[in-house]
């Protein structure tokens, strides 16, 4: 026996070393979550490498900043002017989009949808990578000390990057979406077809599980579907670059990631998401009970004097005051979808109040939305044919103050995301 072992000494040691490693792998696979069983070893390895990487990145950024911020400022003024123009254009666009969003929220609330909002993000810097072509992951300079936990979404302004796989005290390992073992719920923006995004051996991203009889064209935008419970729905993932027939009746859809995964420098880790029912302010919705409450005689409330924000002079309100109606007009909490609100401004003496808008923006909106006829009317003349709450306000009692109501229509805040540290939406 000894002679056999001596003769095949090298081979015996090889088998022994391989056996030990296979055993170690088996233990990790058996335990399922290898992060726990090998955590200490990984912490040592990461702790030995990342300080150097972090130092190099900082030195590099420092020298880069010195150059870009102090020496190389050519064209900054022109760029600044361009950016200002761009901001103006984006503001205009934002107004339009906010209208669409309000409408979408209203529809979602009707269908009792739940929405996910990105509440808080932590910016992080990429300090290294796994370095292997076989596994695509990066290291960032934020860890458990910064509130990071596994399975948090990592994004950039461009699109999604990946998810936090392992967390160490001051660093984290992020598995990118082009890794072969990653899986992200994806959805085509136009057709709303859903699939699973996976990485390929070449480091590309493909959208799987889309049937071959579906219409998908290069250039289509791919968004996160939210089905993976990691990425909120609607984040940009990329665009379709190639479509070809795959196996098993599915299409092979190659996706070009929106975020440049090979040149990542800064990323955002979504540390807090919030899921809540889609709600919309229904200031303009009128319930039968409200109408009845207005019609019925009741003890009048003490009028409250409200001064609109400077620079916002709602025409209707001015008109109503000019007509000798109550000057103490409370405006509705939010804008209503119909032009009736303008009429409510004009006939505001009878409009119930839910909450006071914080600024004059709402007033402004109300006036902007008002039909010409409604805004032009004043006081008792406003009750013509608007067919809304204020239209129903008694013409016979023009100076009647706000009538009490059992409950205001809605006092819920608008479904905008709560204040965030850094909200990419």
């Amino acid at each position: 026996m000894e002679s056999v072992l001596g003769r095949y000494r090298n081979l015996t040691i090889l088998v022994g070393v391989l056996f030990l490693q296979v055993l170690g792998l088996a233990v990790q696979v058996k335990r399922g979550n290898d992060a726990d069983s090998t955590r200490l070893i990984r912490i040592w390895a990461v702790g030995a490498i990342t300080p150097f990487e972090r130092g190099l990145v900082r030195a590099q950024n420092g020298s880069g900043n010195l150059w870009h911020n102090y020496f190389f400022l050519r064209g900054v003024r022109a760029e600044n002017r361009q950016l200002k123009e761009q901001i103006e254009q984006m503001r205009l666009k934002e107004v339009r989009l906010s209208e669409d969003a309000t409408q979408a929220h209203r529809l979602q609330s009707l269908l009792a949808f739940k929405e996910q909002f990105i509440v808080k993000t932590v910016p992080a810097q990429v300090i290294g990578s796994s370095g292997s072509d076989l596994s695509r992951s990066i290291y960032i300079d934020r860890g458990s000390n910064d509130g990071l936990t596994p399975d948090m979404a990592v994004i950039t302004a461009g699109g999604i990057v990946g998810k936090v796989l392992r967390v160490y005290p001051s660093t984290s390992l992020v598995l990118m979406i082009n890794d072969q073992s990653s899986g992200v719920g994806g959805m085509l923006e136009k057709s709303r077809l859903q699939g699973v995004l996976r990485g390929t051996a070449d480091g590309e991203v493909i959208l799987e599980r889309v049937m071959s009889d579906e219409q998908v064209a290069p250039g289509d935008t791919v968004l996160s579907s939210g089905g993976d419970q990691i990425f909120p729905k609607g984040l940009p993932v990329g665009t379709v670059s190639k479509v070809s027939p795959g196996k098993d009746m599915f299409l092979n859809i190659l996706v070009r990631p929106a975020a440049d995964l090979s040149r990542l420098e800064e990323v955002l880790v979504v540390t807090e998401k919030q899921e809540k029912n889609a709600v919309v302010d229904s200031g303009g919705r009128v319930r039968a009970a409200d109408i009845l409450a207005e019609r019925l005689p009741s003890v009048p409330d003490k009028p409250v004097v409200v001064t609109p924000a400077p620079g916002t002079t709602p025409s209707g309100a001015t008109a109503s005051s000019a007509a000798g109606t109550s000057a103490g007009v409370k405006t509705p909490a939010t804008s209503a979808p119909t032009g009736g609100n303008a009429a409510s401004t004009s006939g505001a003496q009878s409009m119930p109040v839910a909450a006071q808008p914080a600024t004059g923006q709402v007033l402004k909106k109300v006036v902007q939305r008002a039909p010409v006829g409604a805004s032009a009317t004043s006081g008792s003349a406003s009750n013509g044919g608007t067919g809304n709450a204020t239209g129903l306000s008694p013409a016979s009692s023009p100076a009647k103050p706000a009538a009490p109501r059992p409950k205001p229509p809605t006092a819920e805040p608008s479904p905008q995301p709560p204040p965030t540290e850094d909200n990419p939406h």
């Binding site: 090998t38 490498i49 292997s132 076989l134 073992s181």
Partner: protein, 172 residues
């Protein structure tokens, strides 16, 4: 092609100083983790594998080769996203085979090194994928075009790297 079969007595066995033995693999691991961040194409290269092949072939001792491979492979696994041991097993096999080959063949010239490195890159990939798919159940796919091109790129880099590392060789 000057790959010559030689007897054990004809082959020179080299050794390395302790700083080189420890420092070069660590530097390879560090560069492999850091450089792809600045130069994404660098992730095609596998510096730890090249260093393993070089040390194994220079020492010509299978036991030393397999332990070098195991140590470097496991270190690489610790920094990666997958379970520890996949690279370790693959590198152990490569280290063992490279040192066994080094003990039998003269692989000192550029052509031989190119072919040997390409071969070992493919061996490494084969073992890696077998373990990853067979044992860990990872859904990894092999791309022949990418694999062969990456192997060639590594072989070319390896030839240059080996000549640089030859300077650290010490005769026994």
């Amino acid at each position: 092609m000057p790959i010559t079969y030689t007897s054990g007595e004809q082959i020179e066995v080299y050794r390395f100083s302790f700083p080189v033995t420890v420092g070069v693999p660590l530097l390879a691991l560090f560069l492999q983790a850091y450089v792809p961040r600045r130069f994404p194409f660098f992730s095609v290269f596998d510096l730890p594998l090249l260093v393993t092949i070089f040390f194994a072939m220079a020492r010509r001792n299978p036991i030393s080769g397999l332990f070098t491979g195991a140590a470097i492979g496991l270190s690489q696994d610790m920094l990666g996203a997958y379970p520890i041991g996949i690279n370790g097993i693959a590198m152990t096999v490569v280290g063992y085979l490279a040192s066994s080959l080094g003990a039998k063949l003269d692989v000192e010239n550029a052509g031989a090194r190119l072919l040997v490195t390409l071969g070992f890159y493919l061996v490494h990939a084969a073992v890696y994928f077998t373990v990853a798919r067979g044992m860990v159940n990872l859904t990894l796919n092999w791309s022949w075009s990418h694999g062969v091109l990456a192997g060639l790129a590594n072989a070319v880099l390896g030839v240059g790297l080996y000549f640089m590392l030859d300077k650290f060789k010490q005769r026994t």
